[in-house]
């Protein structure tokens, strides 16, 4: 109302008066610009990250199979999906496989990464070149690695050829569960060691040289310096590497899906491949969502166990 009654002249004087104060930020007004910077991001998060997560969680309490999916109404049925999931022996096979897969992958990835990082503490010509080369397994698509190892472990492939040269085999690598499972772990170690290597390398670099120098003067040998200085001082980095390693390894899907498809006879079935199979082969989205939720709980549980072990 007041604005409408203003004469054009009055409005003009007002803007002129307002001019000098523009130089200073007006504190009283709410500053919207931070929110404009993050607006597209927040919209994306709500629509394509938060919404799916909530959807997946609620779906796990609904009956979502082919018929209900087509008809569009997916009735709530409480814990039925979870009960169906844990009643299936294949689920427990997948849980055990996932835990073993994670344990052995991380054990070897970390060990190889640690030894390499130790080696690369020395300065030598072409170091950056070697470092870059060693990152290739990690940055190239998982599909490439899966195809490579599918070939290497082929019945008449290079692994059996080498076994033959030293008088063993041939082994039915991808044809029998007892051999296929370690084969997928070997492939996953190959994909993951560079990640461990590079983080541990950077962690070791940040340990001051004087500490080592002091120990050396005190007569501590190389391995003594490693166990008494490097390992304890590297602990924060190691914890980060192991935590991330656990999260990434439990999530592994492409590698096993391409190499073995979870077979033979569910011998390499992980929770990730099993959930996908239940969802997209059996078209039981509700149960697949329930398995996905249980996977998240497994990651939390494994990290908790790790945390407790590290406290010791």
């Amino acid at each position: 109302m007041r604005n409408n009654t203003k004469s054009p002249a009055a409005e003009k004087t007002q803007t002129v008066v307002a001019e000098p104060s523009r130089q200073r930020p007006r504190k009283a007004r709410f500053d919207t610009s931070p929110y404009l910077f993050i607006l597209p991001f927040v919209i994306f998060c709500l629509a394509l990250l938060l919404y799916p997560v909530v959807y997946s969680l609620t779906l796990s309490f609904r009956q979502a199979t082919v018929d209900t999916f087509v008809s569009g109404d997916m009735p709530f049925n409480g814990l039925t999906q979870y009960q169906a999931a844990v009643a299936d022996p294949v689920f427990w096979r997948a849980v055990i496989n996932t835990v073993l897969f994670a344990f052995f992958s991380i054990l070897f990835q970390f060990t190889i990464g640690f030894l390499l990082a130790l080696f690369f503490q020395a300065d030598f010509p072409c170091k950056n070149f070697c470092l870059a080369l060693l990152l290739i397994p990690w940055v190239s698509p998982v599909l490439t690695a899966a195809n490579i190892f599918k070939g290497l472990f082929n019945g008449t492939g290079p692994v059996n050829q080498i076994c033959h040269l030293i008088g063993f085999g041939p082994f039915p690598w991808l044809a029998e569960p007892a051999y296929a499972f370690p084969a997928t772990i070997v492939a996953n170690i190959w994909i993951g060691f560079p990640f461990n290597f590079i983080l541990l390398y950077a962690g070791m670099r940040s340990i001051p040289a004087e500490v080592y120098e002091a120990a050396r003067i005190d007569g501590a040998h190389f391995w003594k310096r490693v166990t008494h200085i490097t390992l304890p001082m590297l602990k924060p980095v190691s914890v980060a590497v192991l935590t991330l390693g656990t999260i990434y390894t439990v999530k592994v899907f492409d590698l096993v899906f391409v190499m073995t498809g979870g077979g033979p006879a569910n011998g390499t079935q992980l929770l990730s491949t099993y959930a996908y199979q239940v969802g997209f082969s059996l078209l039981n989205f509700g149960e697949a969502a329930a398995i996905a939720t249980l996977m998240v709980l497994l990651v939390l549980l494994l990290n908790l166990v790790q945390l407790l072990l590290q406290r010791r």
Binding site: Y51, C126, L143, A292
Partner: protein
Amino acid sequence: MSFFANLPRWWITVAALVVSAVLLSPFYWVLVGSFMTPAELFGGHMSLWPSHFAFGNWSAALNRLRPHIQNSLIVSTVASIGTLLITAPAAYGLVWRKPRGRRTLMAFMLMTQMLPAIVFVIPLFIEFTKVNLVNTLPGLILADMTFTIPFALIMLSAYMKDLPYELVEAALVDGAGQLRAFLTIVLPMTLPGLITVGVFSFLIPWGDLIFALSLITEDNLQPLTLQLYKALGQYGVDWGFLLPGSVLTAIPAVLFVVVASRFIVAGVTRGAIK
């Protein structure tokens, strides 16, 4: 500190090259194998070098994969640019402009890293079916961005923390608008970070299989990875096609590593140590 304190440095280089060669031998196998006939590859005795180069593998694979390489290029490029357009202002805003709820947002980003892909795959498949985004490249791009956006935001936030904010403040005092300060000061100063994150945001969709597998069934829309996966099952494994295809899939990543190794090492370690 080094175990090899008394050795000549070139000996260490030789040792490092030997270690690298052993660890990368699987890659050597796929590279050399892509030029071999399946008979020579799996003929029963080791061959470290093709007896004659079967270039036919490569030309056949390239011909068959050309449209799918194009799909992969479109998806990865658009996803990468979209990721940067969304996360660069957001990372700056969250780190320096301190909006409310930023801690919750950052915590949520870290949480998404923990979730298995299937948590996103099923809801996106169901919802995209309803809005006709299944079997479209935009649908695949949006889905792939659920991987790249949290990752890019976490990495870019680390870069933004190193930004000398006084320069931005000085520009604002001199009368530059928020947007102009962002475009002319923040973006140029974080360029190395933007490039690294941009390349990773290209490589992640490039290597994606699970979203392509669940969202794209039409053959002419399939990206490279899905086409290679499909080639596995049909009539036994066609190694003469699969190996060149696998090498092809790895080319962007290998190029990136060779060109920008220093950037990656700095970028990866920065995010993790801080």
